[in-house]
Amino acid sequence: MIDAVSAGLIVLGLGFYLAGSIGLLRLPDLYSRLHALTKADNLGLGLLTAGLALHSQELFTIAKLLLIWLAVLAAGAASAHLIARHARRQETGR
C-alpha cells in the first residue's frame, strides 16, 4: 500500500520534470523557460521527496529530505531571479 502511494508520488514528480524539460526545449524565450524550469523543480522535487519520505524508517531521514527540498527551492528561486535579472540588464543595456 505504502509502496503504491510512494510510486505514484514519484511518477507524478517525474511527470513535472518531464514537463519542465519539454518547456526548456520548446518555449520561445529565456524568461518562459526559466518559469517552466523552476515550477518543475519545485513541485517535482517536492513530490519526489514525499514519495521517498514514505519509504524511510526514521524521522531524521524525513527531516533531511524536507531540508533538501527547502534548500533546492530557495536556491532555485534565487538562481532563476539572478539569471532573469542579468538577462534583463543585458537587454535594456547598462
Binding site: A71, A75, A77, L82, R89
Partner: protein, 354 residues
Amino acid sequence: MNTPSLLAFDGLLLISIVSLAWAALATRDARRSVILFMAFGLVLALAWGRLLAPDVALAEAAIGAGLSGALLLAAVGGQQGARSGSAQNAGHADPQPAVRWAVTLLCAGVAGILGWALLESFDSSARDTLAQAVAANLASSGVSNPVTAVLLNFRAYDTLLELAVLLTAVLGIFALGQARPGYRFAGPVFDSLARWLVPLLILTAGHLLWVGAHAPGGAFQAGATLAAAAVVLRLAGHSHIGLPAGSVLRLVMVAGVAVFLLVGVTLLALGRPFLGYPPAWAGTLILVIESAAMLSIAATLVLAFLGGRPQALWQATGAAESVPPAATATPAALPEDSSGAATHGVCKEEQSRC
C-alpha cells in the same frame, strides 16, 4: 544479477555521460562548454552512487562538479571581461582534416588498448588481495568506513602527499599574480540566500567531517563544502570571506600537511613506523589529522578560486592605506558587514557578475 530495469538505467546513464562529454568538448563557446562539463560531473556523481561509491559521489559533486565548475566559470568570466575581441584565438587555425583523422585514429587506438587492458584485469585472480587485506585489518584501523581507513590509515602517506600537491598548486597560483577583483554587493535576493546557506554549509561540513569515520564522508568532502560556503560569500560581494589574515592564513594553509607530518614524525620518534598509528589511538589521531586537513583543504580551495595572492589578506597589517575605499556601493543592499572595512575596496563597480 541485473534486472532489466537496472540495465535500462545503466544504459541511459552511460548514454547521458558520453553525450554530455561529447557536447562539452565539441562546442566552440567556452561558457557553454564549462556548463556542460558541470552537468557531466553531476551525472558522473549519479554513476558513482549507482556503483556503490558514495564517498566518491560526494567528492565528485562537491569538488569535481561544484568547485571545478566555479573555477572554470570564473576564468571564463575573467577572459570575456578583460577584452572584447577574441585576440587569443585569432592566431589558431583549425587543424587539417588529415590531422583530425590521424588524431581520431590515435584516440580510437588508445581506447582500444585501455579496453583490452581493462578486460584482461577483470580475469586476473589477484584482484581481491588488497580488498581482503583492508577487510581483515579494518577493526584495528580506528574507523569503520573502509574508504576513510584506506585514505587516512593504510595509505596515509599518499594522502599526505596529496595535501602537499594541493598546497604546491596554491603556491604556484600565488606566484602568478594577484587575486581576481571582488564582486559588488549582491541584491536582496542573493544576499538573503547567502545568509542562511552559508551557516548551513558550515554545519554540513562539520557533520561530514564527524560522520566520515563510520559513514560516507570525510575531510575532503567537508573541506570542499566549507570552500563552497566561502565562494558563496565571495559571490555575494563580501570580500572578507572568513579567511584569516597574514600569518594566520599561512598557518591554516599548511596546517594539513604540518599536522600530518607532526603526527608521523612523533610516531617515528616513539619507535613506531612513520604514520603507523597504535590501534588504541588510531581513531583520535585520524580525527585530529582530518580536522586540520579540512581547514587546510578549505583554505587552499578558496585561495585557488580567488586566483592569486589576496592582496588585502596577505599583509599582516591592515591594507587600508594601499586600497582606495569603495566610494559608491550599490544602494540595494549594504549589509552590516562590520569585519574588515579595508577589504571592501577590492570590489570594482563595473563588474556585473552579481
